[in-house]
Amino acid sequence: MAPLTDMLQPEELQSIANLQLMAKQAVEGAITGMHRSPHKGFSVEFAQHREYVQGDEIRRVDWKVFAKTDRYYVREYEEETNLRAMVLVDASGSMAYAGESGQTKLQHALKLAACLAHIIMKQSDSIGLMTFDTRIRAHIPPRSSTRHLRVLYEEMLNTQPGGETDLSKVFHDIVPRLQKRGMIFILSDCFTDVKELLQSLAHFRHASHEVVIFHVMDRDEVEFPFDAWTRFENLEMAGEFRMVDPASFRAAYLDNFAKFTSALKEGCQRHRIELVPMYTHESLTDCLARFLRQRQGVA
């Protein structure tokens, strides 16, 4: 297994180690951890009594209270649960774009995924990984064991950018596969129809998942710095290209880009989805710090 240090710079790891990932809402889990669960069940910590109603399990009746009061009460316990996190990494062709840094958006996204895995595992929570383009390419369910982290790293290292993207279709396919509620980290450039994308994200929310989108962008996509005649070749569809004079084209492109990000931001706010912009020229530390500060603010 490749150690995390192969993928992350030591200073990045050091910085990450001190960060606390606080889940905004409790998730369902079987392993006791730092997160409170509102769900009552088998646990050692008593919560309260309540009157028996038809359908309650007989074994949960507190016979001592019955003896004292001659009434049927059942015992309720407060359990401690773990975080079930799932990292969805967009491995479509568009994520293969590399700007001046030489690092593709996919590589940057995977580094972030590794960081997230490291942090969550350190909290003894479980984390899974799913890569996709037009379909799900790899699915590693959440686990919390140390061995599991190695599996995740191996999968990350083997992930290569694929073909076209259809985020909404893939997300609709993914939702039924996540059997328990949890936290979904989506690492994608979101280059698809925003309206359809938001509908599919709403599907996650409907299934009571907490969703965080790391919007992975390259500086070139944001600033469009080209000036000479440029042949833009489609990363997702071989042979398709556009010959453009970027100088005269730039203003309109940036206008459309701003509209795109604005629509995405508004949609996410509407569905209570956290959207974290992430630029390939930025350090991961900065990106994660921004994310966690943002979460502590809203928690």
Partner: protein
Amino acid sequence: MSFMNLALIGGAAAAAIPILVHLISKSQHREVKWGAMHLIELTLKSQQRRLRFEHWLLMLLRCAIPVLLALCMARPILKGTAALWSNAKTSLLVVLDNSYSLDFKGAGGTNFEKARDTAAELVQELQRGSDVNIVLMSDPQSSLYDTAVFNTEAVAGELKSMQAGFGQAQVSTSLEHGAEQLMQMNHPHREMVLISDFQRISWPTEEGEAALRTRVGQQLQRMEMPPNLTLFHVGAEGRENVCVETVASSHLLLGVNQTVTIQASLRNYGERNHDALRVIFHADGKPVDEQQIPLGAGERRQVQFRHAFDAPGSHVVEVVTDADSLKADNVFRASIPVWDKVPVLVINGAPSTEPLKGETDFLQIALQPYREGREPELVDLLETRIIHVADFNAAAIGETRVVVLANVSQLQRSQLNELQTFVKDGGGLMIFGGDQVDQRWYNDQLLPYGLLPARLGEVADKQQDAEPFTRVVGQRFDHPALQIFSNPRNGDLASAEMRQWHRTVEDPDNDLVRTLARLETGDAFLIEKQYGNGRVLFCATACDDAWSSLPLRPVFVPLTQRLCTYLASSVMPPRNLGVSEKAVAHFPAAQAGREVVVTDTQNEQRALPIELRGGRGVATYEDTARPGLYTMQGPDGEAIHFVVNTRRSESDLKQLTSEERRAVAADMGAELVQDLDEYRQLDQTRRFGQEIWKPIFALVLFVLFFELWLERRMARQRVSG
């Protein structure tokens, strides 16, 4: 279109440079593997049309700049058929306004000096072999040469020594005359240049004259070889001018020692008020009286002077003011004949030996009241001689000024011819009706000869009616012969009872005939006709008391006196002339072959022969182009004065505005120029075409600025994004 530097047009090939730059930059493109293709697609979808348009526009502008620059440097010349004439000889016709309004002296000389110098310059600048003629606009329209001449130096010299005329400009007639001259000229390339001060009075903008000018202009364009018509404005507009408009005498016929009132009308066309304008009255060249009058801007005022001449003969009065620099209209002269006797020949158609029964007995008394009334102290002006019809002939006419036909039945053919000549030459004929009048002869002979104002109808007779008479309609008369009867104190024409009279058939379309007075029945009482230089008056009733009580009424005397003096006042060739009108004097036939001496306005004398014409001696002097006094001395020493006055319509020096001049030129299909340089430029354009490098250069600058603006606008779009 042609080019002065044709080789430089090759520079237009530089238009390929922007295209090549575009193609090269497009071929040296970079390749980018791009993820956000949907954004590029979206942008292309919304911006492609605009971007494509802007790119094409920019490309077009960048290509246009070298093309236009090359065009500019090649100095293109726009021309139609002008190229055919570029080296051709020219036929130049100058229509020169020499009306006296151009005598106005502004800064740098008179307007006419400017006009003639301009014409001389135009002539001098003609190519060798060109021909030229000059038409003068002042009436009568005349050309300087009978046919076009080739010696342009001589023409220029003659122009430079020319003096302003004193007539009125006749625009359309001059142009027509010019067109006739042009047809006789030699070269196919023809120029007609009209040089004028565009005085408003000569260039009216009213429909009639304007339409006439336009028509003449169009006719010129339709000529087989149409000329280039150019209107050349010269001269400053005179702001101040006072003129003596008219001088009128109170007497139709003036006798010795009779006091005449001379009434002069002065008008101020200027904008300055004159508080005390000096007006001087001269009689026979000597100052007699002087008045000072106020004359406000735009005002007209009358001044009266009284004078009596103590000797018969030709006399001259003049009214002078010294208001301004346009001298020609500051003086108005009048030639006034003073008569010792005015011979009247009365032909008696019904003589009688009984007192007051003859046809002319009352008339004789009325025409010579002092002699008949045995008043030795007083002298009749009219000297009446009564003859029978059979005695009427040329010899009987002699010096007669008025012939009266009193109830004359008819005349012999020879008599009729003599009478016709007499009237045509300016004699006065008075015809009274009566029972002896042969209506048929009058209608068949006298009428066709032009000596009867209206065809005679039946004789009206009121004697059998309940009211056995009618009267002359009392009215206000404006005719000079009857004007005094507008005042009842001078006599009442309606006091006479008319029992019988000749009805007449009037011709309302004949402008030469005018009814002066009517009877209450509506029939004409007095009819006047102009014939030749003379006049005919027809009285519908008789001059004795057989048909009316008119001879018995006091009004008969002044009436017959006025009618005869009125007729006699035109007895002579006119002596008050317009500019360039002929001065004609009659002499006895016996003096034919002898000479008269004419002294002109410059005191130069010239002898003229007396020619025998129509049974009398006639002397004619034609050179009356300058206003002033011309004196003709007859063989027996008698002086006859002719005065020439300018037409006062030219005294209003207002010119057309520049807008109006442009409109006139446009209507006539002409070009309008203000100075020689402008004309030369126009001529250059007509001959060689119009150089258009300046507008092209302006276009280059515009395209450059537009390209710069477009480029910056597109750059701003990039930056703002």
